[in-house]
Every structure is written in C-alpha cells, then in structure tokens.
Amino acid sequence: MTSPAAGVATLAEQHGAGNVRPAATVSAAFARAAEVRAGPDGLNAILALDRDGALGSAEELAHRHQQGQRPGPLAGVPIVVKDNIATLTMPTSCGSRILEGYVSPYEATVVTRLREAGAIVIAKTNMDEFAMGSSTENSAYGPARNPLDPTRVPGGSSGGSAACVAAGIVPAALGSETGGSVRQPAAFCGIVGVKPTYGRVSRYGLVAFASSLDQVGVFGRTVDDAAIVVGAIAGRDRYDSTSADVQVDTYQSPATEDLTGLVIGRPREYFPESLDSRIRDRCDAAIATLRELGATVRDVSLPHTELAIPVYYIIAPAEASSNLARFDGVRYGVRGAAPSLREMYERTRSGGFGPEVTRRILLGTYVLSAGYYDAYYKKAQEVRALIADDFRRVFGSGVHVLFTPTAPTTAFPLGTRSDPYDMYLSDIFTATANLAGIPALSLPVGRVDGLPVGGQLMARHFNEAVIFRVAYALERALGGRSA
C-alpha cells in the first residue's frame, strides 16, 4: 500500500503500472482521515465523504487500466474538493445552512476533468460560508482546525481542503480563490497553493461569490503535486464564457534549478515597516536563495497596493449581493415558512445566511444603491484599474516574477479576530492578484515559532509556467515542503 501523501506523480505512476491498486490508496486515504480525526469531532475539515462511490470509482479505474486504457496523469489519486464546487454524489452546501443537503444536478467542469485524468474525489471540504472569510470560522458547520496546531485556524476560506492536504489525507485538493482563499490557507498549513490566471480554469459549477474575481485554485503537498493538478483542470470550457482559449503549458519539474536570466521583483509595499520582522526575514532569505540560484533581484514598487483591501471589500460584496440573490427559498435549499412571498424570502435568507454573509450582502447592496454607487463601487472599479496597471508596468519593465509574503501573520488562534476589518486584512497581500486577474502561488519558505510562513510568487497573465519554474527551484533549494 502506498500512502496517499506519496505525491501525485508517484501515485499515478504506481497505479498506472498496476503496482498498487487505486482502491488500496483510496482506503488508505479514508484510514488517514479517521486517524487524524478529519471529521466534526476533530479537525472538522470534511463535510461529506463518498466512501462507496470513491472505492467503486477506484475499482472501475483499475478495471479500465486492465482493459488497456492509458492511465491519466492523476490515475487513482485521491483528491478532496471544496464544498462550493458542484459534485453529483455529494452535497454542495457552500458551508451554509441555506444549501444544507443540496445536491447539484450537474457537475463542475473541474471535477469532470479530475475524473477524466483518473483522480478519485473522496470528500467535500469545510469552508467559510460562501467562501466569505479568511479562517474557516464562518462555516455554518463549525470551524475547521489547523492540523499543525488544532488550536489555530487553517486559514480560509478553503481551510478544509488545506487541512486535508497538510494532514496527509490526500496529496492535492481543489479550493477556490476570490481574494486569497487558497494561498493564505496554504501558507497557514505549510503547503503549496495556486491561484491560476482568471480565465485559466473553468468556473462552471463553482458557486459564484464575486464573478469577476473567483477562480478555482489548487493545493498540493509539493509544487509538483499542485502543478500536475493545475495542468489537468486548466483550459477552455464551452460552459464558461470567461474561460480563455489560451494554450495550457505542461507544468513539470525543470531539469535544472538554474534561474539565470530571470528577474525577480521585490515590491516594497509588501514589506512595510509594520510587517512582522520574522516573516520579513524568512521572505528575504528566500529571495537571497533565488539570487543564489542565478536570478537577478530588483526592488520594485506597486504603489496602489494599500488600496487593495478597500477596493476588494467593495467589489466582492457588491458582486456577492447580486450573486446570492438567487438563494431565496424558491429555487435552492431550505425554505422558511411564511404567509407572504416577501416574508418567505426574508425568513429564508435571514435564517439561512450566517452573520458574515449577511454583513457582506448588506454592504454590497449599500455600495450599489442609489446615491452611493459612484462614491464606492465606481470609484473602487477605477482604483482596481490602477492596481492592475501597477502590475502591467512592473512586468513590462522586464520583471518576470514578483516575490512577496503570502500573509502578514502565521496561523492565528481560533476566535481571536472578532473585528471584521481585522479579518479582512489577512488578504492584504493576496487580494491584488485577484483584482488584477494574474496568477499567483504560495509555498512554504520557513517557520516562525513552529508555524509555517508562506512566500508568494506572482507573474503576468497566463504565465503560470514561470511561476512553477521558480517554485520548483525554490522548493528544492529550501529543502522540501516545510523548509
């Protein structure tokens, strides 16, 4: 039997060669989930398991291999999926009471592509309700916990997926990104998290939060795990008109770690005076390593960075207030009993949405309402363009990749961020990539007080390949996944 944490490439190879039965690996993943108590009595990382379906799929896959079908790049690899991505055999609750027990009648394209590549989806994972949060404490099903220290959050909103990978249940997982919801939990859990370019991966079947920002993201125990999964799910999808018809590169480990010829930018706004000096030191050590690998490092400026959080927390709630209008008790999920239509809507929504979702719907409705639209929403869109221009200018000046901290802190203890805006500041270094639509990746670059620190790489649109090249080299030079 091979551990599910062996790595995507190793597992797929062994399953494809017939050395290991996919069902044995899937069983080992379930056993590991039980061992680390991934359910509600422990890490609370998993909302639904599909034991029978996963084992059946694994046996079926082995049979197809025996019949001569060529194994896919994810052959028999167990994977978990965030609960806002539509699956047919498990509910899609989005971490919300309003969708409790809801089973989608169609499947997300990313799930279809995982299956076609041979992956076995074994579970749906806990998340902040409708992906609104940075700690997975906003789930209607209780907070998820960080496997490295269960008194701390795993980050969010894709905290359940990150926890499953960090706990060694699966080598890779799907999450979703709107403002950092894959990269920040990856940083908090000491694993790799990727937000592809907006349009690189289909959003069909990803329950919409903020449609101009949302993107399916990938977690991996290593850069290679994440790279293989991104390669499997990327590409144009006829069911998502915002998915781009752009060539998908093969993301694989380069033969050499040599980064000669690459220019790495160190944006000063991501290293403010207020940044924890220990996080700054870990990131600067990683930058020094990049220099040793042959890269040229250049100080650069992205002057509108500090405006990203105000912009993000206007645009995202505005889009959310519109997207979540569909949850009204008529078409999906639960329904509140009431004597009139308006009261039915109001009871359903007030009873179904938690406090943070309610707050953001109100905020979004307010900034879109007459009299405030220009001052807030229009202005935020204009400043968003300035933020995107900052990146265009820096990448146009010859910088290939930017390196920054992923988050301003390490994983914080549960229940310690009660002020909403304090929580929003967790996204301060990640929301910019979503606003600009560019790809970004977080990987572990060291530890502070035993907790992982994430370093972030960003590049121009559709240039995931250069990010992976740098990430592979840095990961190897730093000596493995947790540095």
């Binding site: 009648p105 105000p310 109100l362 002020d419």
Partner: protein
C-alpha cells in the same frame, strides 16, 4: 458618509433580508466601521485610470448564440417536489390562497 439605522433597514429591504430590530444598531456600527476604511479611495486621483480588464489581451471568447445543452444527472422534474406539464409545482403561499379565495 455614515450609515444610519434607517439606511440599514432600507438596504435590508432591498436585499430581502429580514433583520431582527435589536441587531440593527450593531449592524449599522459594523458597516460604518468597515466603510470608514473605504474613504481612503475618495482621495485617489482616478482620472488616469484605464478600463478594468479581467482576462488580459486575450479578451473574452464568444460562442455561437445558440446555447449549450447542459448535461444533467437527474431529470428536471426531479428538482421540485412535484411537476406538471413541464412546470414545477411549488407550495402555495397563504397570500395566494387569499387571492384565490377573493377571486372566486
């Protein structure tokens, strides 16, 4: 700009959210706390800002205006408690019963 309790009631009405009256002062305070951080945007000169772009130079691809047949795992009729003549049947609301009674 500050959000009054009446603003909260108005926005809740627009958003079809039934808020407990006791929570409204807290929500108004929270929204004001958040929006205070947004005021920094009003001081930014955006006269030079270009159009907001999402996917970059590749633009958004278009498809034939014919619609895609979405493959469904279950028949459409399975989504509702009951269906008739291709329409979903949903539980009647009391107001509809009243209207029906009045019109008969």
């Amino acid at each position: 700009m500050s959000v009054s309790e009446d603003d909260v009631r108005h926005v809740a009405l627009l958003a079809r959210l039934g808020l407990d009256e006791n929570r409204i002062p807290t929500i108004a305070a929270e929204l004001n706390g958040i929006l205070a951080h947004m005021d920094v945007l009003s001081r930014v000169n955006t006269a030079v800002a270009g159009a907001v772009t999402g996917v970059g130079a590749a633009g958004t691809p278009l498809r034939v205006d014919g619609g895609n047949q979405i493959p469904l795992a279950r028949p459409r009729e399975a989504f509702a408690p009951a269906a008739r003549d291709g329409f979903f049947l949903v539980p009647r609301l009391a107001t509809h019963e009243d209207a029906a009674a009045e019109s008969s």
